[in-house]
Subunit: 197 residues, 2 copies
């Protein structure tokens, strides 16, 4: 059975490829913004949104590829009781990072495996991250060095790069923070017989 | 003040470079095997060996470069009450991995910053890792795919690669497992004024 990653996230692809898992990428075409708004209007608890989006992505790609094992993933950022949306440009990233500075936020990850339009497996995981009181000069240098590459991450940082300098404490699984809780996923892929035991 | 990494570990270099820290590499020339044997004969507790080796590496390079901030690092593997040494070839790696299979081991990391032949800062951290009951066929495929590159790590695995498939559970900081507890180090480098706040 082939594995399809229903995500255009470069970070997820990198983690999965580095672990030696064979897969192809077929990004889901669902409109995440509309779905997220619908979930919020239905008073879905904020910590369940990532899982619901992972389900939707996996199922939407499974419809077109029913014979494959489809992996959907999503990650949300919770801060101050609110769901933070992706920043559209560097100006918005600057505003977000200045808000997160000196405070704690939470990353919630959802992973879903689907096959033949049915959900086979779900996994949820969260991590807490504390940003330090970095200077305005640091923030400007950070934005200039990293550029628009940070906009692909909801928190506007990549821990595999300069982003790690924004933090003074991180708890939770590193792979989950990158968007792909790898150990539970590998265990399930072995159970499904798609990678060797 | 320039930062010197007193280690030839590619993993440490990669982590530090990815975080945007400027540094040069000057590997220490101390004989680790002799020093380790001496420490063991002196009944140094096993969980203190990594810290003592990190001290020795930092101080040895600091002697030749007294004006630089010298970072020494070491990592030891504790299993079944013993200190495990690096494997010299694939045959030894096979024996070690078969011993670790299905069991827990501990990685202990030591980091030391030295300046002008004096130790400025020390940090110790440990992680617990549980290897799964992988098959003999998996082990052979792993050794063939990874080749001699795994011999640079005391446990004969790199979590950034296929090595992650050896595990079913890992606790502890990811950067520490790679050999460089990054967040405490970055905090100290800011305190020393060598990277921007």
């Amino acid at each position: 059975m082939n594995i399809i990653l229903a995500s255009s996230s470069k970070s997820r692809s990198r983690v999965l490829a580095a672990a030696g898992v064979p897969f192809t990428v077929v990004p889901s075409t669902i409109d995440e913004t509309i779905l997220k708004d619908t979930l919020l209007r239905q008073h879905t608890p904020l910590d369940k949104i990532a899982g619901a989006l992972a389900d939707a992505k996996a199922l939407s790609v499974s419809q077109a590829h029913p014979k494959a094992l489809v992996l959907g993933g999503d990650q949300t950022l919770l801060f101050d009781g609110e769901l933070v949306s992706k920043s559209q440009d560097i100006a918005a990233a600057r505003v977000l990072l200045a808000r997160l500075r000196g405070k704690e936020h939470r990353l919630i990850g959802g992973l879903t495996l689907a096959h033949d339009n049915k959900i086979l497996w779900r996994h949820g995981e969260s991590a807490e991250l504390w940003m330090r009181h970095f200077s305005d000069a640091f923030l400007e240098r950070y934005l200039k060095t990293e550029g628009t590459s940070i906009l692909s991450a909801v928190g506007c940082y990549k821990l595999e790069g300069l982003g790690v300098q924004l933090f003074h404490r991180i708890t939770g699984d590193y792979f989950s923070i990158l968007g792909l809780p790898l150990l539970p996923l590998l265990a399930e892929l072995r159970k499904q017989g798609v990678i060797p035991k």
